[in-house]
């Protein structure tokens, strides 16, 4: 018996609905589970005490929180200038030659390499060879390498979106290329670059594997970039794998998800505003 096209169509439509709803359900289940089971353990004390390092996961998340902040700041400090520089190359200086092909190959390949391979590299180079030991510095340097492709790509797009008329006007006034870049192009691309930075913050917060082998994982309060430390994500891992404090792991998960939600919200808001602004500017 042959099924009529109309029936196939209806079945297929049903399957698509099911797939869409299932994808949504995954998110709801994950977030729902973490929140329902984790939110009860969040308290002022949880946020403001250090983990004690015991098997029951005693203590809060203050030092991992501070460790995360250290890591975010230092990683951005290293990766953003490099990434913006590379983006400037790709959008303003690149001509179609072997060098540009090499640059693109580098960015694309780096983007696909697994976090743990960056970890191997960071361990061998920063932790051992350069003697930075397990530290926030080693973690940041490793993570900066990992984040570079994201920064480069998003900044390149932001710079390419700057209207060509600004460039012409600037050159027409006798400005040099570098002056044009510094005084006209980058200022106009700032909202896009900020979006790139916030996206990168998200990446840093979610990353675990490469930090697991470079940051050390100490639950002590970090005092400098040389401190052995852990991030929130790492802390969650340690709680889940090495303690019985499932509730605290979930509570840490709640905090992480909240951070990611805020980051998503802010980038969305910024890029909408950015689109509105560039459209308005061409009036």
């Amino acid at each position: 018996m042959k099924i009529s096209p109309r029936v196939t169509h209806s079945i297929a439509w049903g399957v698509c609905w099911a797939a869409g709803l299932l994808s949504l359900a995954f998110l709801l289940v994950i977030i729902g589970y973490v929140f329902v089971n984790g939110i009860g353990s969040i308290s002022w004390e949880f946020l403001t005490t250090n983990p004690q390092g015991g098997l029951k996961g005693e203590g809060g998340i203050l030092s991992p929180l501070v460790g995360t902040l250290y890591l975010v700041a230092l990683t951005l400090l290293i990766a953003v200038p490099l990434g913006v520089g590379a983006a400037i190359y790709l959008s303003e200086y690149a001509v179609n030659n072997w060098f540009t092909k090499m640059v693109r190959f580098g960015v694309e390949s780096l983007a696909g390499i697994p976090s743990i391979v960056f970890g191997l590299f960071g361990f061998a180079l920063f932790v051992i060879a350069l003697g930075f030991n397990f530290s926030i510095l080693s973690g940041s340097l490793t993570l900066a390498c990992l984040c570079l492709p994201v920064i480069i790509r998003t900044c390149e797009e932001a710079i390419k979106a700057v209207p060509g008329t600004y460039r012409e006007a600037s050159y027409g006034l006798g400005a040099t290329k570098w002056q044009t870049i510094m005084h006209v192009i980058l200022p106009a691309a700032i909202p896009g670059i900020i979006t790139a930075i916030i996206l990168t913050v998200g990446r840093i917060v979610e990353e675990t594997a490469c930090l697991y082998v470079t940051m050390g994982g100490s639950s002590n309060m970090p005092t400098s970039v040389w401190s052995n430390s852990r991030t929130l994500s790492l802390h969650l891992y340690y709680l889940a794998m090495e303690t019985t404090a499932v509730d605290k792991a979930l509570a840490t998960g709640v905090i992480l998800i909240l951070i990611i939600v805020v980051i998503n919200f802010v980038t969305r808001w910024l890029s909408n505003r950015y689109v509105a602004m560039t459209r308005g500017g061409n009036r």
Binding site: G20, Y93, Y237
Partner: protein, 297 residues
């Protein structure tokens, strides 16, 4: 009026010109940085991994069945199989689900659903992998255990967790390539009396094929590279899994679990494992990007 000819001839050595010249070269260096890092990564892991290949033999290393640190036996076949199983399992779930979700988003869903699901999928990308691992560990593993198949830490649990993690990659790239299919194709099919599903199945999806393949390849890269979430739900026993309920270990998991305590040949063997991963991923991703490029031509 003064003549222009005098002033345009001497570039002068104003500071701004010195800057301009300096930055022109500096920027090339910035451009090269990713490539330099790529080379450094290759250099370091090859250098540290090489002694292992030399002492164990490349083939013995890759096809060896035993990984036993106390016995100085280093064969990574069980981990290769573990990684492969989990990746295949994850793709079996996420590819159909991802493609249908993408079609749902482009052709089926009412605007309201779209504006819920798109941000939801973006959010899935951002959630830390350890959170996935945690939910898998606390929710999924007990369900599998209660169904009477061992401890619950298993290839199945890992596959499901991984499927959710690569879903956004597959949905977003597939969606982009469906959107890129020219409208004329759709109109052509509809004007011949096809139902909308026939149009999608016979015209749109084939036209978006290379984008879909790219999404699968890139999703696969992500799956093979995932580390912490896998450790949390797969059991990490070094065995060749004999069923989906059996525990296993992934290549990445071995690296994370053992690296900090390794020395000597063990250390070299871990870097050699890294080399295998690095080379494999590089080939896989180059293939994926080639597919994506092909689509744009």
């Amino acid at each position: 009026m003064s003549k222009i000819s005098d002033s345009v001839l001497q570039p002068g050595c104003e500071l701004r010109r010195v800057y301009d010249g300096f930055w022109r070269y500096a920027i090339y260096l910035f451009g090269a940085i990713s490539f330099i890092i790529l080379l450094l990564i290759a250099l370091f892991i090859f250098r540290e991994g090489y002694p292992a290949f030399q002492k164990i033999g490349i083939w013995q290393f890759i096809s060896g069945l035993r990984w036993d640190v106390s016995d100085q036996a280093y064969g990574i076949l069980p981990m290769i199989i573990g990684s492969t199983y989990v990746t295949i399992g994850a793709l079996l779930i996420s590819v159909p689900l991802g493609i249908f979700t993408a079609v749902f988003l482009t052709d089926v869903a009412p605007q309201m659903m779209r504006s819920i699901i798109r941000p939801a999928i973006e959010l899935l990308v951002g959630i830390p992998s350890v959170v996935y691992g945690l939910v898998g560990m606390l929710m999924l593993v007990p369900i599998i255990r209660q169904s009477g198949h061992g401890s619950g830490d298993s290839v199945l649990a890992a596959s499901i967790v991984l499927a959710v993690m690569v879903l956004p990659t597959i949905v977003s790239i597939t969606e982009d390539s469906i959107i890129a299919v020219p409208n004329a194709y759709r109109e052509g099919a509809l004007s011949l009396g096809a139902t909308r599903w026939q149009m999608i199945w016979h015209v749109v999806l084939p036209a978006a094929k290379s984008g879909i393949i790219a999404s699968i390849v890139l999703g696969m890269g992500r799956a093979i590279g995932e580390t912490m979430a896998m450790i949390m739900v797969i059991g990490n026993s070094i065995i060749i899994p004999d069923s989906i309920f059996s525990p296993a270990r992934t290549l990445t998991g071995t690296l994370a679990l053992e690296l900090k305590y390794a020395a000597g040949l063990h250390w070299n063997a871990l870097f050699a494992t890294g080399v295998v991963l690095f080379v494999f991923i590089l080939i896989l991703n180059s293939f994926g990007f080639l597919m994506l490029r092909g689509k744009n031509k």
